[in-house]
Each structure stands twice: as C-alpha cells, then as structure tokens.
C-alpha cells in the first residue's frame, strides 16, 4: 500500500501528476491509500480507479457518512474497488478535529507516503510526521520554487525525504512490496518525432512549461503553426495544457 496525499488546493499540474502517479502505481499492483479530501486526495483515488486498481480512503467520519459531499460519487466508486476505512462508529459526522487523527491511520496502513503538493501548514505534513515516527519512508514530489503550494513538500526534500518524480521512484523505495512489471506496450513511442517543428516544441518544453505565445516567440514561427503542432502532440499524449494555458511534456 502506498499513501498519496497533499493539499486540497492543488494546482492543475499537481492534480494531473497525482492522477498519473496513482494510475501508474495501481497498474504496478499497489493499493493507493488517501483521505478522500478534495484536491490531491481525490485525484489519487481517481487515478487508481481509472487504472482499474484498488484504492482505500481513510475517513474522518463514519463509513456511512463520507465527506466532503462533493466526493460522494467517488466514495461510491471506492466501495466497488477498494474500500472506506474509519475508526469511528457509523453515523459519526465529519468534524475538523477528526481529520488530523485519521492521518495516523493512513500513515499506519501505507508502506510509503508520497506527498504531492503541500503548503507550509498542511494536513499532509501531519501525516508525514506520524509516518516518520512509524518509520515509513517519506517521498515528496518537487514543486516549483515559486509555488506556495509546494513549500511544504519542497521542505520535506530538504529535510531528507526521497524525491518522487514517477511511479518508478516509489517502486525503488519499497523493494519489499510485490510489484508487478509495468504493463506491456504502454510506454509512449520512443525516439524523436518525425516533424522537426514537433521536435523543437518538445525540446523547448523539456526545459519548462510554456504558453502558446511563448512557444511562438522562442521558436520563431506563426501561431497557427504552433497551435496545430501542439494539437497533434496533444493527441499523441506528448504534451498537455494546464489550466493556466501552459503546455508541458506529458508523462
């Protein structure tokens, strides 16, 4: 079991990464544990379910009262593949103070804890503290030095947490688990794309995410050409656009 937790106020990039990570972990046979909260937690459950994997949500309320309401449908799907766990009797309403408490159960269940995005004061950091006490390996996903939403997770890396950039990193950190091989035939087609413009776009995006305007300026071509190249790359899954209009390399 791998816990994937983070802030409720995640960035689009953070959510996409979480979903992808949980998806890949579930593919490799891991059960993804999280807390059913909005943001990173929900993305983690969702990614694991999308892979047809199993995932467990630890609740701060009775199992018949999953919260928040917005994730009620997610909770129903969880019951089909995985489950809801709670230390509280049925009928217990969610309460603020119960959420930090359920974090210790997440930490206890997991063989490793991955923090995706966490600001300086975050419930996810409570989970890490407890997990540390229990001797669980802590992994953190690096965020931009500008992003407040990654201050906490970046601080963990400074303090010695392992770096998590993909599912492979988690696999390497938990050799005791029975990982299955990566599914065959799924990696993206290797090698450089045939179209030279595509190759230049991918080269530019390898360094940092860019908007269409920035790409147009740095490559020195027209918006129509860049737009149509980006759409083709998107279809091939090689780039994704985030909510802020920036394109980055797909995983």
């Amino acid at each position: 079991m791998v816990a994937v937790v983070g802030t409720r106020r995640a960035t689009r990039a953070g959510l996409d990464f979480t979903r992808q990570l949980a998806f890949d972990l579930a593919h490799r046979g891991a059960v993804v544990v999280s807390g059913l909260a909005l943001g990173v937690d929900a993305a983690a459950h969702d990614g694991a379910l999308a892979a047809g994997g199993e995932t467990v949500a630890v609740l701060g309320s009775g199992v018949d009262r999953p919260s928040p309401a917005r994730n009620a449908r997610l909770a129903t799907r969880l019951l089909e593949r995985g489950g809801l766990v709670s230390e509280y009797p049925e009928g217990t309403e969610a309460a603020r103070w119960r959420f930090p408490a359920r974090n210790r159960i997440i930490a206890a269940l997991a063989h490793a804890v991955v923090i995706v995005e966490a600001p300086e004061r975050s419930g996810a950091l409570i989970t890490t503290d407890i997990a540390l006490d229990m001797g669980r390996p802590i992994m953190a996903v690096p965020g931009s030095p500008w992003a407040r939403s990654s201050r906490g997770s970046n601080a963990l890396i400074r303090a010695g947490a392992a770096l998590c950039e993909c599912a492979e990193d988690v696999v390497a950190e938990t050799p005791q688990l029975a990982w299955t091989e990566a599914a065959t035939g799924t990696p993206p087609p290797p090698g450089a794309p045939e179209d030279p413009l595509h190759a230049r776009i991918l080269g530019a995006l390898d360094i940092e995410p860019l908007t269409r305007d920035e790409l147009t300026a740095s490559i020195g071509t027209s918006v129509p050409q860049i737009s149509s190249a980006l759409a083709a790359l998107e279809i091939d899954g090689l780039v994704v656009e985030d909510e802020g209009g920036r394109y980055r390399r797909g995983t």
């Binding site: 409720r8 106020r9 960035t11 689009r12 959510l15 996409d16 979903r19 992808q20 998806f23 890949d24 593919h27 909005l38 943001g39 990614g47 999308a50 892979a51 917005r70 931009s144 500008w146 992003a147 407040r148 939403s149 599914a183 799924t186 990696p187 993206p188 908007t211 269409r212 305007d213 920035e214 147009t216 300026a217 918006v223 129509p224 050409q225 737009s227 149509s228 190249a229 980006l230 759409a231 083709a232 998107e234 279809i235 091939d236 899954g237 994704v240 656009e241 985030d242 909510e243 802020g244 209009g245 920036r246 797909g250 995983t251």
Partner: protein
C-alpha cells in the same frame, strides 16, 4: 367640429398608426384625452395649452376632447403633443383641416411651443412610406433620422408655428438630402476605432480574434486580471467588414427605438460594441420593460456583445442568450405586450479562472478556498458555453512584452484577411457564417481531407471530444481553411481548430 391627424407609434420593434381626433363641443372650457393614454399623454393637455398660447394661437374656450384611436392600443409618452395641437388648430379653423389630409405628425411640445425629439423616428419614417402618408411632421432634431427611410415626405419642424406655416404652405421648407453611403463612410470611419496595433503580445488571442471575426464564432477568453482581455474584445468590431447600408438602417432602428442615438449622428454607421456590466438583469440583457424595449443583445445587433466577468452574470440573464444566439432575434413577452427584436450579435466573453483571478497561476497567489474555482467556472455551463466555438487562454504578459517595443499587427491587415475569408465563404454559396452552421452543414462544407478526418477521429478518442465539441471544432476548422484560401479542410486546419476547443479536467492516459 372634428379634425384629425395621424401619428405613428412604436409597438415593440414595429409601428402602428394612431388616429388623433379632436372634437370641440359647447360647454364649460375643459380638455380631456381619451383612448388608453398613460400619465405622460394625460399631461399633454398642459403642454398643448401652453404651447398654443405661447405660439400666439388661440386656445379654444370650449369643451375639448382628444381621442386616440384605436382605443385598445396603449398610448405612452409625450409624442402625441404635436398631433393633438395640430388637430386643435384644424378644429378651431386656425389651419385648414385639408392641410392635415394624409399627414402624420409626432413630437413633444415644450411649454414655449418649440419641439423636442422623440424616440424611434426612423421606424416612424418607414411607417409613413409603408402607409403612403404624404407628409410626416417630426421635430427637426429627428428629421435626418426619419429621412433615412422616409425621404422627402419628412418635414422637420422647430415649433408649432413652424409646423402650421409649412403645412399651410406659408413658408418654404428647407430640403436637406440624407445620403446613407456618405454617412457610412464619413461620420464614423473605422479609423477612429481602437486598433489592434495598440495591444501588446497575446499572439494566440489575436489569432482567435481574427478567426472569430472571419467566421462569426463566439469567443471565450480566460485569463487573470490585467492580461488584456477587454482591450482585445474592443478591437473585434474593427476587424469585421463595414456595415452594409441595409444593416446600418436596421441597427439604427434598434438604437433609435431605445432612445440611444447620439445627437448629430442620425445613422449608426459602425458596428456596435456593447459591454454591459455583470450586474445587469435578464430584462436588461435580452429586453424588457412594461412596454418591451430592446436589451443589450439587440443593441449589439450586427455587432459585438461583450460580457466581461461572464461567470459573475446572473444565470437567469445568461440563459436568456440562448434564443438570440440560435435565432439571431429575441422575443420579449411582458405583461403589457410582446415584441420581437433583432439580436444577431457576435458574443465575446471574458472570464477569470476563479473569483480572485489567480487559480492555476504558477505564482500560487490564488486566495480562493478549495473547490470554489470549479464551482465558479461551472456557472457558465449549459446554453451559453454550448454556443461558444472558440476558447482561448489569455495569460499574463511577460516582462519582455510589457516593456518591449515590438511592432504589432494593425487591425487593417487583419480586416483584409477576414474579408478574404468571408468572400471565400460566399463564393461557395453559403449564406450563413460558419459560426452559425448546424453540425451537419458544417461537416458538409468542411469537406475534410482524409488526413484531417483521421486527426479529428483521433481527437474524439484521445482528447475525449464530445459530439457538440466536435461540431464546434469542425466549424472553426472551416473558417481556418477559409482564411487560408483552401477549398477543403486539411490537417493543419483541423489541428489548429483543436487548439481552440473547450478544456476540462484532463484524464489520465497509460504511460
């Protein structure tokens, strides 16, 4: 002795003739107005009495009854002052009753007997032509506007005395020609419109604006505050081809009825740009009032309706956009009357990604609680977002763009390409702009090449394109091909069109 004169009146977007009859009966001096008059018409009695006296006419010391027929039609406003006064003059023999034969009159009287402008004079001039009236007497401030359609039969008058003298032939009228073409070219050329040259950066949004103009596609710009969304939207009317004379008349009619014509500008000669505030009510946006008057969608007819902060508009107001967007007109049904106004406008919306504007900005400046950005964006779902073909992100400018002194393309250059695309569309005998085509028609005229078709099929699969979203992409691709001078939609057109599709949460893919 009974005398009568006709008076045109505005009923919604249409007109009707009101017969103003005046009868003088023996009895104690009195003055009554009957025929469903509202308060402003009732007050005509005081204005008419003062106007007559101050223009040195005799005020009849008898029982005066003015009847406005047909009696079932509600009469509103001060515009009946002049016809009532003229009918009194005829009934008292101060002008010959024959002088009013075939004559229509409209105008508000000042207490000194001079005339004040009325709303809707252009439509009234059109009514005079349709009903075959020999003369239409209007306040001189309205004369140029009424002559646009009414021609020489329109008589602009300064005062009650002036009207009487002209009708009796005691004074020569001063003819002034109204040349629509000249008004269209001179009064407000597009040179005075804001130019794209003044907008820095935003290459992608500029392109979207050009595509929007070329195919009349609705456009949604999303980005943080200060990125330049409003500046861009204001430049869309200047990218569209100039108004045709017939369209200018129709637009002027709407603005005239709404009472929004500027003095000295009898013709709305450039495409309207309307940007109502987000607190506007549904009635203000689509039209309303006890007697229906045009709303912003109609004032933007043949022009651009810009909704800034579109997610902050009342959902009920946005829902009202469905009919105008689909039919190019809007039917307003109110307690007193129903009316249909033209509302063939191009919709441009701008929105922030969340109430504070910084959601998903890499800086993490967003102060919204979790879930609020999603809820905020969700307010746009439904009738409006379904009709928006072009979705474009307008990110904050980089430092280079803000302080740099780059040369940016001017509106004139873009307008030329837009005109070319419109000509290409007309050449294949397609009357509707691409943005108004049904999904099936769009696929037919797109005539996509095999490569483009394959790409679009992949897009449905891998990008999770819905059927509606697919139709929108095809419409945009057709416009891109038109801009390119291509007869069929090729792969680059289809691919670029995909870049303007609506985005939602991304789905994981196997890696």
């Amino acid at each position: 002795m009974v005398a009568s004169v006709k008076s045109p009146t505005i009923v919604g977007f249409d007109t009707a003739a009101v017969h103003v009859e005046v009868d003088l009966r023996p009895g104690l001096p009195s003055f009554a107005v009957v025929g469903l008059p509202d308060a402003a018409v009732q007050e005509a009695r005081e204005r008419v009495r003062s106007g007559l006296a101050n223009q040195a006419f005799a005020v009849p010391a008898r029982r005066v009854v003015a009847n406005l027929a047909p009696a079932h039609l509600r009469k509103a406003g001060p515009q009946y002052d002049l016809p009532i006064a003229l009918a009194i003059l005829a009934a008292t023999g101060q002008i010959r009753p024959e002088a009013l034969a075939g004559v229509g009159a409209v105008g508000e009287l000042a207490l000194d007997g001079s005339l004040r402008r009325v709303d809707g004079a252009l439509a009234m001039g059109e009514h005079a032509v349709r009903d075959g009236w020999t003369r239409l007497v209007v306040p001189e401030q309205n004369a140029a506007e009424a002559r646009l359609v009414g021609g020489e039969r329109v008589l602009g008058v300064r005062s009650l005395r002036h009207a009487a003298d002209l009708l009796e032939g005691r004074e020569e009228e001063t003819r002034s020609e109204v040349d629509i073409d000249a008004l269209l070219t001179t009064s407000r050329s597009s040179a005075e419109m804001p130019d794209l040259r003044d907008v820095r950066g935003q290459a992608a949004a500029r392109r979207a604006l050009e595509v929007s103009a070329a195919g009349r596609h609705s456009l949604l710009m999303t980005g943080p505050p200060g990125a330049g969304k409003t500046m861009l939207a204001r430049r869309l009317p200047g990218l569209l081809p100039p108004l045709e004379p017939a369209d200018a008349i129709e637009v002027t009619r709407v603005h005239s009825i709404a009472g929004l014509l500027e003095p000295g500008h009898p013709l709305v000669s450039s495409r309207p740009f309307r940007a109502p505030h987000h607190t506007i009510s549904a009635a203000g946006l689509v039209g309303g009032g006890r007697y229906p008057t045009p709303g912003e969608v109609s004032l933007a007819h043949r022009g651009v309706l810009f909704l800034d902060e579109v997610c902050a508009f009342a959902p009920s107001a946005l829902d009202g956009l469905r009919q105008p967007l689909e039919e190019g007109r809007v039917r307003v049904v109110r307690a007193m009357a129903a009316a249909t106004f033209p509302a063939d406008m191009q919709l441009v919306c701008a929105g922030n990604p969340c109430p504070c504007g910084y959601a998903d900005d890499p800086s993490g400046l967003c102060t919204c609680p979790p879930g609020r950005p999603e809820a905020y964006r969700g307010r746009l779902s439904g009738p409006v977002s379904d009709r928006i073909d072009l979705h474009v992100r307008v990110p904050r400018l980089t430092t280079d763009e803000v302080v740099g002194d780059g040369e940016w393309e001017s509106s004139a250059d873009v307008r030329e390409r837009v005109a070319g695309a419109i000509a290409a569309r007309r050449e294949r005998d397609q009357p509707l702009p691409n943005g108004q085509l049904s999904g099936r028609d769009a696929r037919r005229v797109a005539d996509a090449e095999t490569g483009a078709e394959r790409l679009l099929a992949q897009a449905i699969d891998r990008l999770g394109l819905s059927a509606r979203a697919f139709d929108r992409v095809v419409r945009v691709a057709r416009t891109l091909a038109d801009l390119d001078g291509a007869s069929r939609v090729a792969t680059p057109h289809a691919a670029e069109a995909l870049a303007y599709r609506e985005r939602d949460g991304s789905t994981p893919r196997t890696a």
